[in-house]
Symmetry: C2
Subunit: 341 residues, 2 copies
DNA sequence: ATGAAAGCGCTAACAA
DNA sequence: TTGTTAGCGCTTTCAT
C-alpha cells in the first residue's frame, strides 16, 4: 500500500513547518508567493489531497448523510433515492445508505452504528416493523445528539423533525371519486400495507369518497391482506361478489397481481372492472391493459428531502421550526379505468 | 446540539486520566475491577459511544465501502446493490453509494472525493461513458493508493483487480442456440448497449451459436440502436423482413419494447416470433406474453463482490493474486419462446 | 493500578 | 513571512 502523501511529508521535503504547508495550500496571504508556488506545485504533482477523516475530526462534520430505506427494489423508494443522490452529490455530500428490509432491528442497528461521528444528518422512511412496534427511541436519541432527521413517506407524529409526505388521504379520496364518477358502483380496496401509516390514511381517503357520494362503507370491501396470507385466495373470496366493479389497490404489486386474477376471471377491463393503484412504477405501463396510477413523484420527494436536510445541517443555528411538506400526487389515467364523461 | 460525551468528559467526572478511561472501557486488565466497574456503568448510563471518526484517523480504516453503480432504476444493478448491502452490513461495513448515471465525469468526481481517507475499498460497475472513453486513470490512481477495487459486470482488462462477471458470451451462445433448437430459422439481435463490454461479448456469443449451426452471420440482423435513435423506427425497419422469427434482446427494456411492437404487428408469439433477453427483471414476468430471460443472479453477484472486497481489505498482507470470478447465468423459459422438443 | 506523552492529519490562534 | 502550540477524540507505549 503506497502511503498517501501528507502535509508532514511536504513539510519535510521543503524543510518548513507543517503549518506553513497548510497555509500555503490554502493560499493564505501570510505565505510568500514564492513559497506558496513551490509548495502548491509539489503538492499537485504528488497528488496531495487532504485526509477527509482528519478534517472531519477537526470540523465535526463529515459531509455525509445517512439514508435508510425499507426496500430498494420498490420503485418508489428507488426513485426517492435517485432524488436524494442527485441533490446530495450536487451539494458535496456523500450518502451512506442502508436498506432496512422492513426490519426494526436492522434499522436500529444501522442508525446506532452510523450516528457516532460519521453522520451530519439522516433521511429515513420507517421500516414496516418499526411502524408496527411504534418504538422510536433510536430516532429520538439521534435527534438528541443534535443530528437532524428528515423523514419521508412513512413518518410518525411521535418524532419531531422535518417531514415530507404525499397527501395520501386526499389522493385516495380523489382516486376513489374518479372511479365512482367514471361509473363504478361498488369499489373495493385492496391493502397489503395496512400496517403502515400511509396505508391507514389511504383507507380513510377511500371511505371519505364513498361518504361524499352517500355510499355505505362496507368493511368487507376493505380487503387487508397480511404477508402470511395468500394474496390470490384472499382476493378471490372478495371477487366472488360479482357486483364489485372497481378496485383501488394501495400499491403497485397488489395491482399487478389483482390484474392477473381479474383477467383470469374473464372480466372486461375497464368496462366490467376498473383498476387504479398507488405508486407509479414501470410495471403498470407494461402490463396489458395498462393500469391507472397515482404518482407520488418519488424523485421530487428525494430531492426535497435532501434539500431540507442539507439546509438544516448547514444552518443549524437558525433553529427554524420543524416543517412537514406535503407533495401533491397526480392521477395518471391509463387503460384500466374508464374516462370521465 | 447536545454534545456527545467523550472520554475526556468521563475522565473529568472521576478525576482520572483519559488513558485510564480508555483502558477501563476496553476492559483492560491494567485497570482495577472497581474503577472499571464504575467507569463502565457511568459510560453506559450516559450512552457513551466512541467517535468513529477519531478511530478512523487512528486506525486508518473507515469500515466503509464505496459502491458506484450506473443506474439504480435498473433491476440488475438494484439486485446487486441488495446483495452488496447484505454482506457489507453483516460484516460491519457501511456503504457509501453513488449513482454514476452513466456519466464519466460523475464517476471520476465521486471516486476522487471518496478515496481520500473515507474508504477502505470500492465496488464499481463502469459507467457507459467510461467504457466508451476507455479512460481509467481514476481507478488506477485509487488502486495505487492502496485502495482495493472489485469490479463487476462492466469491467475492463486495463484495470488489474478482482472482478466478477457473468459468462456473457456463453449465455448469449446458449440462448441463441435455444432459439434455433426451438425452431427459429432467422434470429436477429437487438442491442442498445453496444458501447458496453458486456454488449460486445453477447454479440460474440450470438455469432458463435449461428456458426455452430452453419448459419451465415448477417450483419443486418445485428441491430445496434444508439440512445439518440428512435428504438421503434429502427426495429420496424428490421422487422420489415418477415422471415425473421426470433429476437435476442441484450437487455430488459429493449425486450419489453420489442414485444410491444411485435404484438402491434400481429405476430403470434412464440410460434411466428420468439423472444428472449438478458436481465431477469420483474417486468418480464408481468407482460403478456411473459418473456424468457437470462438471469444474471444479481444479488449473488453483489454478495460475492462484497465478500471478495472485504476479504481483500482485511487480509491486505496476503497479497493474493487478483481473481476474476465468473457467475453462471440461467435461462428462464417463459411464454415468449417455444419449448424444446 | 494509573498516568503522561506521543501520534493519527489537519487547522488556527498566537509568537517570533 | 514563518513557526510553535494546542487541540479534534482516541489508543498505545512507556513510565510511575
Amino acid at each position: 500500500m503506497k502511503k498517501r502523501i501528507t502535509l508532514k511529508d511536504i513539510a519535510k521535503t521543503f524543510d518548513v513547518s507543517i503549518a506553513t504547508v497548510s497555509k500555503a495550500l490554502n493560499d493564505s496571504h501570510e505565505i510568500s508567493t514564492k513559497t506558496k508556488f513551490k509548495i502548491q506545485e509539489y503538492a499537485k504533482s504528488h497528488h496531495y489531497k487532504p485526509n477527509v477523516t482528519a478534517l472531519s475530526l477537526l470540523n465535526k462534520n463529515t459531509k455525509t448523510i445517512g439514508v435508510v430505506i425499507p426496500n430498494i427494489m420498490n420503485s418508489f423508494f428507488a426513485k426517492v433515492f435517485v432524488g436524494i443522490e442527485k441533490i446530495a452529490s450536487q451539494k458535496g455530500y456523500h450518502l451512506v445508505s442502508c436498506i432496512s428490509n422492513e426490519s426494526y432491528e436492522k434499522e436500529v442497528k444501522t442508525i446506532d452504528l452510523l450516528k457516532h461521528g460519521s453522520l451530519d444528518g439522516l433521511i429515513i422512511s420507517l421500516a414496516e416493523e418499526t411502524q408496527v412496534k411504534q418504538n422510536f427511541k433510536h430516532l429520538k436519541n439521534t435527534l438528541n445528539e443534535g443530528i437532524p432527521i428528515v423523514m419521508f413517506d412513512r413518518v410518525s407524529e411521535d418524532i419531531v423533525c422535518d417531514k415530507i409526505v404525499v397527501n395520501d388521504l386526499e389522493s385516495a379520496f380523489h382516486a376513489t371519486k374518479h372511479l365512482i364518477l367514471s361509473g363504478c358502483k361498488r369499489v373495493a380496496l385492496i391493502s397489503v400495507i395496512d400496517n403502515l401509516s400511509v396505508g391507514k390514511l389511504r383507507v380513510e381517503g377511500y371511505k371519505k369518497a364513498l361518504q361524499e357520494f352517500n355510499i355505505d362503507v362496507e368493511e368487507k370491501l376493505i380487503v387487508r391482506i397480511g404477508h402470511r396470507e395468500d394474496f390470490d385466495t384472499a382476493l378471490k373470496i372478495v371477487l366472488a361478489d360479482k357486483s364489485i366493479d372497481g378496485l383501488l389497490c394501495l400499491e403497485e404489486s397488489a395491482a399487478v397481481n389483482a390484474l392477473r386474477l381479474v383477467k383470469q376471471m374473464k372480466y372486461n377491463i375497464p368496462e366490467e372492472m376498473s383498476l387504479a393503484c398507488f405508486t407509479n412504477g414501470k410495471l403498470l405501463q407494461h402490463v396489458t391493459p395498462t393500469i391507472s396510477a397515482i404518482s407520488q413523484h418519488g424523485k421530487h420527494i428525494g430531492e426535497t428531502a435532501a434539500g431540507m436536510l442539507i439546509e438544516r445541517i448547514e444552518n443549524e443555528a437558525d433553529n427554524k421550526p420543524y416543517f412537514t411538506k406535503v407533495i401533491k400526487t397526480s392521477l395518471i389515467e391509463r387503460e384500466s379505468t374508464k374516462p370521465l364523461k
